[in-house]
Every structure is written in C-alpha cells, then in structure tokens.
C-alpha cells in the first residue's frame, strides 16, 4: 500500500464531517447523525487497531517512523497509540451523547460535526511534525470545542463557559504562536527536527551565538500557551468553570482527550525539540508541576459540584504528569505517557457516570451521588474504580501508571538531580491528600441514602461503557501491564529519538 493510506483515518473523518451536514438536508431523523458519527469513529478505531497489530498491512514498521506530506506528518508508535485513545474517547462521547441529549434537542447535526472535527484536530496534533501543523491541529480541535462547550446556548452556564473558554483559548493560542515565532526567528526552521538540530548544535558549540534569553522566553510563552490546554497552575482558572458549564459529554471529551492532546504537544516540544536546552525550562516546569498538584488537590477538597471537583482533580493529575518532563529519561517519559493514557480512561470513565446521572436528571451536585449504589451497583462500582484509580490505589490501573511515572522519575532523581526526588515525594504525598475528596464521593455513593426517592433507569449505553471501564481499569490493565509498560517505553523512545 501507498504510505498515504496511513492518512486514511483523517480522510474518513473529513468525509464524515462533510456528510453529516448533507444528511441534515436530506433527512429529518436526528438519529442518523449519531449513527453516522458512531459508524465513522468505529471504523477508524478498527482501522487503527488492525494497523496496530498488523503494521505490515500499511507497509510500516513499529520501529521506524513514517513521514507524510513532505515530512510535516509523522506516523510512529507514539502518535498511533494516542490516536487510538482519541478515537476511543470520541466514540464514547458520541455514544453517550445520544442518550444524554433528548430526541428533540436542536442542532444535533452541528454537534456531531463539531465532535468529529475536534477529533480530527487531535489526530493531526498526534502526528504533527512541525510547529505550524501542531498549531493548526490544536486550533481545529479548539475551535470545535469552543462551540461544543457553548452548545446549549439557552443555558447560561453553558454560554458563560463557552465565552470563557473562547477568550482564554484565543489568548493562549496567541501566546503559543508568539513563542513559536521567536523560535523561528532564532532557528530559521519550523519542523521539530530542524529546531532540535539547531539547538543541539548550539549547545554543542557547533553553532555560535548566545540565544539563551530568547530561547528561555520563547519556551515560557509556549509553556504558557500549552499550559492553558492541559490546565496546569497558574493557567488553570478556566477549567472548573468550563467543566461545570459544558454539557457532560463535551466535558468528557475535554477531560479525557483534549488534555492528552495538550500533553502530546508538551511532550513533542519540551521532551524532544527543546531537549538540549533543558536547563532553561526544567526548573520552571518542576515548579509548575508542584504548584499544580498541590493547588489542584487543595481546591478540589471544598468543591460541591462534581464537575468542578473533577476539574481540579484533572489539574492535579496534570501536575503529576509534568514531574516526569524535567527528568528527561526514557523511563520517566514512558511513565508520563502511561499516566496520560490511563488518565484518559479513568477521567473519561468518571465523566461517563456523571453524564449518566445528568441524563436521568439527578443533577451535578455531590449530593446527587448519595445512595447511588442503591440505584445502580454498576455505576457506583465503575465510579469507585475510576476514583480509586485516580488516587493510585492498587490493584487498579491508575496505581500502575502512577507507579511507572514515579518509578521513572525517582530513578532519574536518584541518579542525577536530587531536586527531582522532592517532586516525587510531593507527588506521593499529594496522592494521599487527594484520597480525601475522592473518598467523599465513594462514601456518598455507598453509605448515604438517596436525597430524593426517585426511581431512575440509566441508559444502556452508559451502563455498557461503565462495565467496560471496570473491566479495563480493574482487570485488563493490571494483568497486562507489562505490555503497557513496553508500549509506553517504545513510544517514549520514538518520541525522544
């Protein structure tokens, strides 16, 4: 096959993005949009999984990176694994959306179109091999999600969240772009490899010149811009409002996929492109990580809204992942990749339950979780598994990814820079701190009586997805974590070159 077939997922997505508005003109049945979106995402997922296990079908090799479109598009194990996650999350969102929105909810065609275009942006980010492609991918995804967040425009909170997200997103894009332009001015290149080679030469003395200040400033700008995407302190303020205000399926997309997209960008930029000038940004990233996990966990304790609490927990989780970046080793990076992946599952799984409760009209306050176990054992168990995973309690998957993360980072700390050990210890203590608010939900679900005696039946799509979450986080990942470790290690090596 031609290498351009590797581009098939994106092509299918674009085709589908054009089809859904077409369907809108042809048919009145709203289910067709959801069906079209589900079919598209399922086929892409199947394609990605088949090509993962049989790379020779696509005449590619796991060990070797493939380049498309004049080297602007890179296919390697790192990009493929994240693409699978993005499509999986998008499929989940698409599935729960049809039960979350009523049959007569207006503008469903636009909703699914935007969902697919947001996914397209993420896939582009996963494969981007230069700053412009990266920026374009982020913007495609972000513009779609601005509209998705404000999807229920009659709802004040949704509109407010959309406005906030748009303003802050635009601001952060501008910052990123300015940082990129500074780098371009210094290096004369936009591809990651080109910038990497220039900076490498600079640090080895092949290229002369003192660009330290410029590189420091540009890395600060890029960090600020991307920091908004992954919501780390001090660029986190939008996240609680948006997570609370957006329709829950959209929040699922933001928390599980959009966050991972931000991390891909961070990994590509800091762990690869700017790797040889790590002295410039290491400490800044370490401080951001420390502040992020501590403030995130502290702020989460007092939240009364599940969306806000999970948003702050997301901020804290981003902090954990960030500690691996200053460590600059394969092991630490594979831990970071593993935790980013597993985070998508556990946050996604938690928000699916939130969406389930929202869909049957139980509301979003923590009180609505009281007595959930009496209403549905399955949903309560799924939420429990996700939350214990987020804390990092064995034997759930979150423990394993967190272990890999701390393992790699601690190794780097012990063999070199001792201040990184402090980051690991802070991470470990923060995990214990976070236990408090996660346990609060678990206690509410199992130990309290429901606030209002209301018989509810949860949609079957939510129940099936919850069952899948339990199986994945509770059984499959813990049993086969050697494979997870190997894949992440390969991805880390592919990433760091």
């Amino acid at each position: 096959m031609e290498p351009s077939n590797l581009f098939l997922p994106e092509i299918i997505l674009v085709a589908s993005i054009m089809t859904i508005p077409g369907l809108y003109m042809l048919t009145e049945t709203k289910k067709s949009f959801a069906l079209c979106s589900n079919l598209t995402l399922t086929s892409i997922l199947l394609f990605l999984i088949v090509s993962w296990f049989n790379p020779e079908v696509l005449s590619m090799d796991r060990e070797v990176s493939m380049f498309l479109l004049y080297g602007h598009f890179k296919i390697d194990i790192f990009s493929q694994i994240f693409k699978i996650i993005f499509v999986l999350v998008a499929l989940t969102v698409s599935l729960i959306s049809s039960s979350y929105f009523d049959e007569d909810e207006p503008h469903q065609a636009e909703y699914y179109t935007l969902l697919l275009s947001s996914t397209l942006g993420m896939l582009i980010v996963a494969s981007a091999n230069d700053f412009l492609t990266l920026f374009l991918g982020i913007e495609i995804s972000a513009f779609s999600s601005y509209a998705l967040v404000a999807f229920r425009k009659q709802d004040d909170k949704s509109a407010e969240a959309g406005a906030k997200y748009l303003l802050i997103g635009a601001f952060s894009s501008a910052l990123t772009l300015y940082g990129i332009s500074l780098l371009y001015a210094v290096t004369g290149s936009l591809t990651f490899d080109g910038v990497h080679a220039f900076i490498d030469g600079l640090s080895q003395g092949v290229i002369t010149g003192n660009f330290n200040e410029v590189i420091f400033i540009s890395s600060l700008f890029i960090l600020a811009g991307l920091g908004f995407k992954i919501a780390v302190v001090p660029f986190h303020a939008w996240a609680p409002d948006v997570y609370q205000g957006a329709p829950t399926p959209v929040t699922t997309l933001l928390a599980a996929a959009s966050k991972a997209m931000g991390f891909i960008a961070i990994f590509r930029v800091f762990s690869f492109t700017l790797e040889s000038v790590s002295e410039e940004w290491k400490l800044v990233l370490g401080l951001v990580a420390l502040a992020s996990m501590t403030l995130g966990n502290l702020a989460a304790i007092s939240q009364e809204d599940i969306g806000r609490m999970l948003a702050y927990s997301s901020i804290a989780q981003a902090g954990y992942i960030m500690i691996a970046i200053p460590a600059m080793t394969d092991d630490a990076m594979s831990g970071a990749i593993a935790h980013t992946l597993i985070h998508a599952f556990m946050k996604g799984g938690a928000f699916v339950v939130v969406a389930g409760l929202g869909a049957v009209g139980l509301g979003y306050s923590l009180d609505s979780y009281k007595g959930l176990a009496q209403r549905s054992q399955l949903l309560a168990l799924s939420m429990t598994v996700c939350l214990l995973s987020l804390v990092g309690i064995p034997p759930f998957a979150g423990f394993i990814s967190k272990f890999l993360l701390f393992y790699g980072t601690l190794q780097a700390g012990l063999s070199g820079e001792t201040w990184i050990i402090a980051l690991v210890i802070a991470g470990v203590l923060n995990s214990a701190l976070s236990l408090y608010y996660y346990l609060k939900i678990i206690r509410y679900m199992y130990l309290y009586e429901p606030v209002e005696a209301k018989e509810v039946v949860f949609p079957s799509s939510i129940r099936y997805i919850s069952l899948m979450t339990i199986l994945l986080l509770g059984i499959i990942f813990p049993l086969y974590w050697q494979s997870l470790f190997e894949i992440c290690k390969e991805a880390a090596i592919a990433l760091m070159g």
Partner: protein, 625 residues
C-alpha cells in the same frame, strides 16, 4: 556444605601445622602466648605447647572478654604438655579469641585468624514447592468472595460459603505451618512472572516468621465468620468483604516481592474501609475515612522507600531476597547502601510500618477505627491487620537496612516504652470496653516493638510470639465487647455490674480471656512478654523497670474492668431479667480461642521453634549476631 569445604581443602591443599607456645617469662612479669596473633588457612592444624607456669586455653567471645563461655577449652590449668585445637574450629573463616583463664586479667590473650578472618556470609536457602499451597491460600478466599456476593442478600448461603471457605483455608494454613516446620530459609516457594522487565514477579514463600502469622490468619478466619453468623445487613457483601480481606492478609504474609507486598498491603485497606463504613457504629463515616487516609499516607511513603531500595540495589528486581543479598554485598564493599542512605530509607519504611503497628504517636486512628468497626471488623483489625506493621518491619526493613535499623534502636525503644505506658494509662481511663481494648492493643504492640528494638534473637522471637498471642487474644476481647453489646445492650463499663450471677458460663469465659490478655502464666501472652523482657534486660539493663511498670498498669485496668463490669452488685441501669447466656455462635469462638491460647501458652515451643530459627537467620543475615 561445611563438609564439602573440608573435603575440598584437605584434598587440594596440604594442611599446615602451627604451634602456639603457652608460657610466661621467668621473672613472672609477663604472661603470653607466642605468637599471640596467629594467621592460619582454613583446614590447618594448631597445637598449643606449654612452656613455663600453669595455664590453660579457653575461648572467649571477643578480644575484650575474660570468661570462658563455650567453644574450645583445654581443661583446667595444667603444667607442661600440649593440647591440639579440635579440627572443626579451623574448618571455616572466622576469628577465634582465647585467654588463659588464671591470667586473663594480666592480658594473657591471643587470637587465631582463620582464612579471611570474617565469618562466612550465610546464604538464604530457598526451596520451591511441587504443589501450589500458597496460591491456594490466595485464590480460595477470592472464589468464596465472588460466590458469596452472587447470592446477594439471602441470609443463609453467604455465611455457609464463608464458613466453608475459611475452614478450608484454615486446613491449608495448618498444612503450610506443618510443612514449613522450623527449617531455616524459605520453603514452599512459587514464582509467577508478572512484569519481568521491571523485575516484578509474584514470588511466594514462607519461613518461620510468616508461618505463625499464616496460621493466625487461618484461625481467625472461621472464628470471625462464626461470630458474625447472625449478620442481617447485606450478608452477601459482608462475608465477601471478609474473604477478600483474608486473601489480602495472606498475600501480605506470603509474598517475598516488595511490589506485590505493597499491592496486598493496600488492598487490605479497601474491604476494611467498607466494613467500617457500612456496618460500623454511629461515627463510622469519620472513623473509616480517618483510617483510610492515615494508613494510606504512611504506606505511600513506604512505597518511595521500596523504590529507593530497588534502585540502590541495582539488581533490577523487586524480590526481597535479591535486594537483601545485594544490600549486604554492596554495603560490605562500600559501593552502595551507605549508612546515610540506610537511615533515610529506614525512616521512610518505619513510618509506613509504625502507623500500622500502631506505635505512639501514630496510634490515633486505631481507637476510632476499632470503636466504630463492627465486631467482625475489629477482630480482623486487631487480630491480623495490626500484625502487618511489625511483620513488615522484620521482613522488609531489617534484613536490607541493618545499619539504619541499628541507628533507630533508641528511637524504637523510646516509642515502644511510651506506647506501652501511654496505652496502658489510657486504657485505665476508658469507660467504653471496646476503647479499652483498643488502647490495650497499642500497649501490647508496644511490647512487641520493644522486642524488635532489642535486636536479639530472644527479643525478636518474643515480638513475633507476641504478634501471634495478641492476634489470638485481642479478638477474644473484642468478642467480649460484642457479646456485651448484643446480650446486655451496652459496652459502658460503669453501667454494667453483677453479670456473673446472670450469665455464669459466659462471664466465666470472659474472666479467662481477661486473665490471658493481662499475661497470666499458662496463656500465650505471658510467654511473649517474658521473652521480650528478658531480652530487653540483657540489652538495656534496668530501663526494663519502665515497661514492667506498664505491665502493672495492664494488670490493673484488666482486673478493675472485670471487677466493675462482671462482679459486684447488680447494675441499676440494665434490666437483669433480660440478660441470659450468649448464643453458641458467640461462645464457641471465644472458647476455641481460650483453648488455642492455652495450648501455645503451655507448649510454646510449637511456635517458638520456627520463630527462633527465622529470627536467628534474620539477625545473622543482618550481621548483628
């Protein structure tokens, strides 16, 4: 192996003969051996030849001591003649010190350095099993748990399944205990690969340290189930949580891999959290969350310690055996495991373990958890879960970090003594019987910690024996509290009184259990306390008076509680006409416990033999003995 070495040396190398002259100067001013330091190869012969004066040759323990203790001895002082050193004293590396008894104080001493001069490093023997006994221990309760939860809230099936499962695991535990015997090293080992790239495997094995605790877990299992026979609230979930708890506890005691150990260590928390939170008392929500957060915080610090051990050893393995071996090797060669490192990591591990023990000042979660937990939960908590802390300390911290452990001996002694006294004094002031037992646990586990802190064979063995004895008797104390609440309606000691007239059989059992718990000779706790106190006297002298004083208070609060609650005039506050004997499912477990406590109190060697072997091995391995 010794024999093989002998054959090897005598076969290849000609054994040399050395002579030491035992003599004095003609003017009686100096007494000496000539030469006074002799270096010989392994397998050489040494002949002592008498010169002037009346002397003998007697081995002493080191270059300072004067008295013949055991070892070689040429007999009473003699004049003239000669005496060959028995061949087995030069059969392995080591340094032999000896004196002439009459002239030891006049510095008539010498030494023989055999080979390298240091004792050969003992090896940990490992014996793999043909039959997966230990996996059965882990798997059966899980199957029982799934089976039991599938019955939901039907009253009969879950308890029968739980009883059947726990009896079955009790039998396997007994077999494991018998098969392990008092052999040195690990036996019944099994290994399953899990994540070989990281050096993580499910490595199972038992030795004399873990086999008593496996037996304890086995015994407590069916007793808990029988005692909770009439559990009405969600019995399916209740019994399956008990069984999951059992698997996790077995897991902690049989794994020899730091990572898997940690996993089981944490899994224990989850069923316990739900047991307290769903079936607990009025304040259960607070108690359960405090319990969880307290112990989780401590154990994540412990996990960082484990990872530090893993990286420092460089063995790319989480196996306790591998890490212990490389720790010893690297620290002898000064390559890694420096004293500084050992102190830091020991501190991290000690925090993790001390919270579980629980030792002062980390004991505050225990009274809350105990008082709020249902009786079955308290039984497991006090009976087995508290033992995890000390077990972890002895198993996971001592062999790898001997220098760190020795550095922390004063801290451990201080914490142990404070725990003993403080726990006892607080018990004295409690009115709630369950709280009294909870604080007495702090005090008793303080005794066990004191035993570990002596760093002697007897002390360590006493500590492990205490873990078993307390693990048997404190559940019985909690059962008493449960019985009182069921049959009389209150656990408040001042409200009780005169029960002995109305339930003579039940209170008779109460009295025996109280006596056992306060350390009456003939019951298991006494043996443990005696061993620990003798060892502590040997290592720290008259500091012993402090813990002994704690024992006086212990006797005091037990007897005082007994007198107020059981004897005396009939209480006004309870309706005596409604008080009658406890039902069979509450009496039988307590009676069984009395029998077991008496068996091991009268025949302690059944337990002491394996424990002694294991403790000796650990101390030898640490280089303390």
């Amino acid at each position: 192996m010794l024999f093989a070495m002998l054959v090897l040396f005598s076969g290849n190398v000609e054994a040399e003969n050395h002579t030491v002259t035992v003599t004095q100067s003609d003017d009686f001013t100096s007494y000496f051996f000539d030469p006074n330091v002799l270096e010989v190869e392994v397998g050489d012969n040494v002949l002592f030849v008498w010169g002037n004066g009346s002397h003998n040759v007697a081995q002493v323990s080191d270059s300072e001591s004067n008295n013949y203790e055991s070892g070689f001895y040429s007999g009473n002082p003699q004049v003239g003649g000669n005496w060959p050193l028995p061949a087995d004293f030069t059969a392995q590396d080591g340094t032999l010190y000896y004196v002439c008894e009459p002239h030891a104080t006049m510095n008539m001493r010498g030494s023989i350095i055999v080979g390298s001069g240091s004792l050969p490093l003992p090896e940990i023997s490992m014996e793999f099993s043909d039959f997966p006994w230990l996996s059965y221990l882990l798997v059966f309760p899980i199957i029982g748990a799934l089976w039991s939860i599938s019955f939901g809230n039907t009253p009969n099936a879950p308890r029968l399944i739980a009883l059947f499962t726990t009896l079955f695991t009790l039998i396997i535990s007994l077999i494991v205990f018998m098969k392990t015997g008092s052999k040195s090293g690990y036996s019944l080992m099994e290994e399953y690969e899990w994540a070989p790239n990281l050096g993580i495997s499910v490595l199972l094995g038992v030795d004399g340290l873990s086999s008593p605790l496996i037996l304890l877990t086995g015994i407590i299992g069916p007793l808990t189930v029988i005692f909770a026979w009439e559990e009405k609230e969600r019995p399916g979930l209740f019994f399956s949580l008990l069984l999951i708890m059992q698997t996790a506890l077995y897991g902690v005691f049989v794994t020899l891999d730091y990572f898997v150990f940690y996993i089981f260590w944490e899994i224990v928390l989850i069923p316990m959290f739900f047991l307290i939170a769903i079936w607990g008392g009025d304040d259960r929500r607070y108690a359960s969350i405090k319990f969880f957060i307290y112990t989780f915080t401590a154990s994540v610090i412990m996990l960082v310690g484990f990872m530090a051990l893993y990286f420092e050893s460089g063995a790319n393995s989480f196996s306790m055996i591998d890490i212990a071996n490389s720790s010893r090797e690297l620290s002898i060669n000064n390559e890694a495991f420096s004293e500084n490192f050992q102190i830091w990591v020991f501190a991290a591990l000690f925090i993790g373990f001390a919270v579980k023990i629980p030792s002062f000042p980390w004991h505050t979660w225990l009274p809350d958890a105990h008082v709020q937990a249902p009786t079955a939960g308290s039984i497991l908590l006090a009976g087995v879960m508290l033992k995890m802390g000390l077990y972890g300390l002895i198993r996971a911290a001592l062999p790898v970090l001997p220098l760190g452990a020795v550095y922390f001996v004063p801290v451990m002694v201080a914490l142990a003594i404070i725990s003993i006294l403080y726990g006892a004094v607080l018990s004295l002031g409690q009115t709630d019987l369950k709280k009294l037992v909870a604080y007495s646990s702090v005090s008793h586990m303080g005794v066990a910690l004191l035993g570990v802190a002596t760093m002697t064979e007897l002390g360590l063995a006493g500590a492990v024996f205490m873990m078993f004895a307390h693990g048997i008797l404190s559940p019985a104390m909690f059962m008493i509290a449960g019985v009182l609440l069921h049959q009389v309606g209150t656990r408040e000691i001042p409200k009780l009184g005169g029960l002995a007239r109305h339930q003579p059989k039940t209170t008779g059992i109460f009295v025996v259990i109280f006596m056992g718990s306060l350390g009456l000779p003939g019951m298991a706790v006494f043996v443990a306390e005696l061993a620990v106190f003798i060892a502590f006297f040997q290592s720290h002298g008259y500091w012993l008076l402090l813990p002994i004083f704690g024992m006086v208070i212990t006797a005091g609060y037990h007897l005082w509680a007994l007198q107020r609650a059981i004897f005396g005039t009939d209480s006004e506050e309870i309706e005596m006409s409604k008080v009658h004997e406890a039902p069979w499912y509450e009496l039988y477990p307590m009676f069984t416990i009395i029998i077991i406590a008496a068996i091991f109190g009268i025949f302690p060697h059944y337990l002491m033999d394996p424990i002694n072997t294991a403790c000796y091995d650990i101390l030898i391995f640490m280089g303390v003995l």
